[in-house]
Symmetry: C2
Subunit: 498 residues, 2 copies
């Protein structure tokens, strides 16, 4: 029932462009009948599955094990950690009836699982020999948000939440950083999405954490997307849920906890990192379909001949596995052979909008020459436009071509981020940079106070995305705050954000 | 905090045995703080993950695509299909508040998703060209049950639900059977769990279906476990949600739908199919850990030497992949090298209770002889007790040994089912067979009426598990009903059930 409408241009109406790319890319649609929820359609869910399986392997490689805790959390649990309840209480969906009766104590649908998992950690942990306890959960969670946008903010979303307990703060801090780097490496290697790794200000911390680290990705409108967070919970939840262990010294101590998560929001991040005015662009490592073969013919006789070659190429491509070495999954190429009764141009358009990396045309002339016509979804420095390749050469190089395309998309995204990253030193420049709806990644000095942070946000909607980790921003050098003029130790990343 | 308690014997207290195997096998524990829910612990969740990834490949190989629909279902949706609401309304958990306000229309947490998916099918389907629409969802669902038992019946459980729409009843019926056979093949090939494939009686049908097919597995206490169902929904939900398509004839018709599902209940089925009085037994294809290596030593010098060999064997085993050809996953052996400061006997006991297929002991004498000592978790006809094997020979044969063990567990399970399957012809035999708490798989004639079915259930707690599909029970031959003496066309499977 999808009407043939054009995709809005990024430069003209960015929010509409995003919606159009998601819709015409068949990634998702708003549920409407359930407030703020979306239906993740097969093409979009397949992207999420590819995110899941790769991340999951990285969690296992770092010693984590998956488990599953109840969806429902007793309301009394949520209130045990003071800052946590303040952060999440306003967004809860509450079950008050079940099995035909009114419940004595209502349940919240988990907005996150620190509390219920804290309860079980208290049962499971006795001694330092039980630590570290390294758990991850893949789950749905619910936060009743007022303003929602597909993938970026929905009342229900899918995510993973890591929850770990440690015998010392040092160990917990190392875990926070380890998982932040897992996220950062994954974002770059799999999503081809460059990110800045840093530390949140106190204002932007997770409710209940003593420190929150994050990866911030650059979207094409200059805004930042918080793409993953890793929290140092200190002993806050240990105290709230009485999670104690006997240390080697023999004393009972509260455990040190961490939690970390990424969600279906990442799909929105991929969309806004790579897509263009023709629609969705997907890196091969998360593309549900890697290649579309379009047979070209004028009559049945030609069609019969062309289809034989098309089937042969499809079969050969389908045997190619692009998974990384020692991955826990195989990633055979998914190939669509499009023999629908439509004009080739309409088919090109269709597969473009779904972000398929490779388009292969085969017609009678190509058959004669033993060649195929290859077009990558996005022109890159190394490869642009149509290429005519001998069939055997194409098949032998298809795997490497996709991996090169993956790298090229990352390079393009890095170049866009670099071109839109500025170093600002005056409030005038700042106001110009962020005038109206515009945004960039701006490295600015900040005096370190919440007051200045709030004033900047209030005046410009710009937030401090993070204080960069070493190597992810300008080297620390003293300066003066862009807003207050007070002393500053280093520049921080400022931008508008999703 | 797990106390050292013995596992109950199957012959003495079967329900307690099941609980003990689940608990000491570290598969799950009752959540207690959330009514009827469990926590799936890492060892249990890993079994579920292995179930998921293999089944998921089978769904994809048969043309299905995964998607995700909202957790919450408007209450008005549930009531649209008359039989469906009758079946599910008493078990709903209901969200009445969200974001701090009372909702105008409450939402049910999905007990199953026919209704909300029906709503979207109506939006997505226009023409016969949109059919068949073949969707699957991996999700949590909630049914507020009064009596719960870990994995077998919990208020929240994890499952997959296939939902498909077709242009004709014939096509829908073929789909129902196709997916039933996917389940049956999976149960036997992966879970090593033999099943009877059949058709439910009208009484036992899914609420809203015109026909329900099922796989019924034999548990060691003689009871049946309904392990998977595949439903022909006819046009019931098509009518309820106005899902129409333009047929090739040009006329508007309601679609024909199916749905089918298996759940975390399968983990309980695996437990009760294979485990013994020593605890959990797992087939290699779903075992989270395939081999435990126990170093044997009397002093530090011996330990140092033995650990070198143990690490070498672990590394070699970890490179072995036992996944089936062309699977979408790799299944490298997971090996635990148990260097804890404990007596070897206690370690043996520990890994036995977790169902690890292979135990490998290496001591100084083995090192001298260049051998390992291998013990499979369960003695089979081909292999029993400890085996002493040259290290190289062991490594070269480890993969095949696990696959043979997988086959042997299936053979053992088949033999137990055969030994406990009877053909009954008189009510006296029937009452004896099902006296007290006892049960077998009994092939009996039935007159085909709901009255007789109800009377049998009322008197003995025995239900008609299914009318067998050809090849899964005695060949149809006329007879007289075991209860009423009236004419019967074929024998059906009767048993007590979980
Ligand atoms: Zn956060
Ligand atoms: Zn059913």
């Amino acid at each position: 029932k999808q009407r043939e409408l054009a995709i809005a241009k990024r430069s003209e109406d960015y929010p509409q462009w995003y919606q159009d790319v998601v819709r015409f890319g068949e990634l998702a649609e708003p549920a409407k009948v359930v407030k703020g929820c979306m239906v993740i359609k097969p093409h979009g869910y397949a992207v999420w599955e590819k995110i899941q399986r790769d991340l999951d392997g990285r969690f296992k490689d770092t010693g984590h094990r998956n488990a599953y805790f109840p969806l429902l959390v007793p309301m009394s649990f949520i209130t045990k950690e003071a800052e946590h309840v303040e952060g999440f209480a306003p967004e809860l969906a509450v079950v008050t009836q079940a099995g035909g009766v009114e419940l004595e104590e209502p349940y919240a649908i988990r907005p996150t699982s620190e509390t219920i998992i804290g309860h079980f950690f208290a049962k499971w942990i006795d001694s330092h020999r039980d630590l570290p306890l390294l758990i991850n959960q893949w789950a749905n969670v619910m936060r009743w948000e007022l303003r929602t946008r597909m993938f970026l903010r929905t009342t229900e979303f899918l995510w993973q939440e890591g929850h770990t307990a440690h015998a010392s703060h040092d160990e917990a801090e190392a875990e926070v950083l380890r998982m932040l780097n897992v996220y950062g490496d994954f974002a770059e290697q799999v999503l081809a999405m460059p990110v800045i790794r840093g530390t949140k200000t106190a204002t932007e911390r997770f409710a209940g954490a003593v420190d929150t680290k994050c990866i911030e990705a650059f979207m094409q409108d200059g805004k930042a997307l918080q793409a993953g967070t890793s929290h140092d919970l200190g002993q806050n939840f240990g105290r709230a849920f009485d999670v104690k262990f006997q240390a080697e010294s023999g004393e009972l101590e509260y455990v040190w906890q961490t939690s970390w998560g990424v969600s279906t929001r990442l799909v929105g991040g991929v969309v806004m990192t790579h897509s263009d005015d023709e629609g969705l662009v997907l890196p091969p490592r998360v593309a549900p379909i890697h290649a579309a073969i379009i047979p070209i013919f004028r009559n049945d006789e030609q069609k019969a001949e062309v289809m034989v070659a098309a089937e042969r190429i499809k079969a050969a491509l389908s045997e190619i596995d692009i998974s990384p070495p020692r991955a826990r999954y195989r990633d055979f190429l998914e190939v669509a052979l499009d023999d629908r009764d439509m004009r080739p141009g309409a088919k090109f358009y269709d597969w473009e909008r779904r972000g398929v990396p490779m388009r292969i045309e085969i017609g009678p002339k190509d058959l004669e020459k033993g060649q195929v016509c290859l077009k990558m979804r996005v022109d890159t420095e190394a490869v642009s436009g149509k290429q005519f390749l001998p069939e055997a050469e194409f098949l032998a190089s298809a795997r490497q071509r996709l991996l090169d395309y993956q790298d090229a998309l990352l390079a393009l995204a890095r170049a866009r981020m670099a071109a839109n990253t500025v170093t600002l030193d005056t409030w005038e420049e700042f106001e110009q940079t962020f005038a109206g709806d515009s945004s960039k990644f701006a490295w600015c000095h900040w005096d370190g106070t919440a007051e200045t942070e709030a004033a900047i946000k209030d005046k410009t909607k710009v937030t401090i995305r993070c204080v960069p980790l070493p190597g992810y921003g300008p080297a620390p050098e003293p300066g003066v705050c862009i807003y207050s003029g007070k002393p500053s130790a280093q520049r921080v990343l400022m931008a508008k954000a999703y």
